[in-house]
């Protein structure tokens, strides 16, 4: 038996309806402290809605319990920063004043070169790195990251996931990320939660690539009954 305080998040019987349309149905899972959980599924599967429910941005039924007072960081998929006259330094100080040199160095950026640059002048890869720096600069306990590599070429994708993984491990941050790429999920996360309106898979991310699971994830939504997931023990 796991000690109950080993879980940072417990979700039970979570359902979300938006404009009378069911987006998530009866979702139950638990997340251990310090792990990386990848949420995968096709478009419209309810991945971002799950984040929104966790952040209390949409009404939901069921229970979302955080273990104690947890500081939650959130990076949405779409950030409209390109049109703003905002320097990297100003963007980071929105979160917290800190030693930006070392924060930027930890995401592989030279602060001399980028700190005073306008966000609009950054390349796609630089922008994603700045976003990671921004996500970790105020040291959250849990980080919800929606598509960490959207708008980045495939070559840089792995580097960014690798970096995110390393930084969250170093800072003991529990990482919940949304991704489309099952290969990335297998390589860079501990657990995977596959959604297709309801939960179709929850368990070790190494097993998310098996053909049956993939069919369930990307096929017609079939809501199957699972026991409550236990962050690792698979209840398939």
């Amino acid at each position: 038996m796991e000690a109950p305080d080993n879980f940072i998040l417990k979700v039970s019987n979570l359902s979300v309806e938006i404009s009378n349309q069911s987006i998530l149905e009866n979702l139950s899972f638990r997340v251990k402290k310090g792990v990386t959980l990848a949420i995968v599924g096709p478009n419209g599967a309810g991945k971002t809605t799950l984040f929104r429910a966790m952040l209390n941005l949409v009404p939901y039924k069921g229970k979302i319990e955080w273990n104690g007072k947890v500081k939650i960081g959130y990076v949405p998929q779409v950030l409209s920063v390109r049109d703003l006259p905002l320097s990297v330094k100003e963007f980071l100080s929105f979160k917290r004043e800190a030693d930006f040199d070392s924060v930027l160095a930890s995401v592989g950026l030279d602060s001399k070169a980028v700190l005073d640059k306008s966000l609009g002048a950054l390349s796609g890869g630089e922008m994603r790195r700045v976003l990671i720096a921004w996500a970790i600069v105020d040291k959250p306990d849990v980080l919800l990251f929606d598509e960490p590599t959207s708008g980045v070429d495939i070559d840089s994708e792995e580097a960014i996931y690798g970096m995110l993984r390393k930084l969250t491990a170093k800072n003991k941050i529990t990482l919940l990320l949304i991704s489309h790429d099952l290969h990335i999920v297998r390589e860079y996360s501990d657990y995977a939660l596959a959604l297709n309106r309801c939960m179709v898979f929850f368990g070790d991310s190494k097993e998310v690539m098996n053909p049956e699971t993939q069919k369930l994830i990307f096929g017609e939504p079939i809501c199957r009954e699972y026991g409550e997931g236990h962050g690792g023990s698979i209840n398939l």
Binding site: N56, P76, D83, L86, E90, D116
Partner: protein, 261 residues
């Protein structure tokens, strides 16, 4: 006359500075025309002041204030953008204002401003109000920018977007009401739009953008008022022309930067 000039310069600096500062948000929110159109809503208020013999500026502020609250409320109920609602409100206000003004001279004063009527009280009020506006704008600035980056992110950080927008609209109303003295209702919108637009062109970061926007607002107001006193014409159009010269200079600076070897 010299005294009136000094008072109007004080009002000009105060209004130009706070309008520029506040207007920087409008340009970021892509709501430049909201500030411009909202200013015309003051007209019926000014007319009532003239008709019923009270300070027209109080009437202007009351009308701006009520319209701002109404527009804010309607945008929440109907989900229409501020731009659409202000667009509908300002033409109505203009129509009512023109109908209410029986006296053409008073209408002219309302439309174009009259700095000879600016005295010690108005100058003092302008300074106090501008300081308050800048202080309050500073309080909401970060929240507004966070909301522009991502509304969800701002809400998840506890920002009440609706309340912030309401406060912002009220600040615009107050600033526009005091700005009317200098430029009149027809041109006061300029002060919230053009200085910020010029600053935006040549700013890579927020702090420079804010400082330049406020400074350009103040410079446009001072130069316009000084020129108008020299040429004995309405200051409003000259404030606008001074501001446009700054805008053109900013465009040239940006253009040279873009094509610099």
């Amino acid at each position: 006359m010299a005294e009136a000039l000094i008072y109007s310069l004080i009002v000009g600096v105060a209004v130009g500075f706070s309008a520029g500062y506040l207007g920087s948000i409008m340009v970021l929110e892509k709501m430049a025309l909201v500030g411009d159109a909202l200013s015309h809503v003051a007209l019926p208020g000014l007319a009532l002041g003239v008709l019923l013999n009270f300070d027209p500026l109080i009437g202007a502020f009351a009308f701006l204030f009520v319209s701002a609250v109404l527009i804010w409320h309607l945008s929440r109920v109907t989900k229409l953008s501020f731009e659409t609602l202000v667009g509908a409100a300002f033409t109505l206000a203009l129509a009512i204002g023109i109908l209410l003004f029986q006296d053409l001279e008073a209408l002219e004063e309302a439309l174009f401003g009259d700095i000879t009527k600016v005295g010690l009280i108005q100058a003092f009020a302008a300074i106090v109000i501008s300081i308050a506006v800048i202080f309050l704008t500073r309080v909401i600035y970060k929240k507004i920018v966070l909301g522009l980056i991502s509304e969800e992110l701002a809400i998840s950080k506890g920002v009440n977007i609706a309340r912030t927008n309401l406060l912002y609209l009220l600040l615009v109303s107050i600033t526009v009401a005091i700005g009317i003295q200098i430029t009149g209702t027809l041109l006061v919108g300029f002060l919230v739009v053009t200085p910020a637009a010029a600053a935006r062109i040549i700013s890579a970061n927020l702090s420079r953008y804010l400082k330049l926007s406020a400074t350009f607002g103040a410079i446009s107001a001072i130069s316009g008022i000084l020129l108008s006193s020299y040429l004995s014409v309405h200051p409003g159009p000259l404030v606008v022309i001074s501001g446009i010269i700054i805008f053109a200079a900013a465009v040239i600076i940006r253009w040279r930067r873009n094509f610099a070897p």
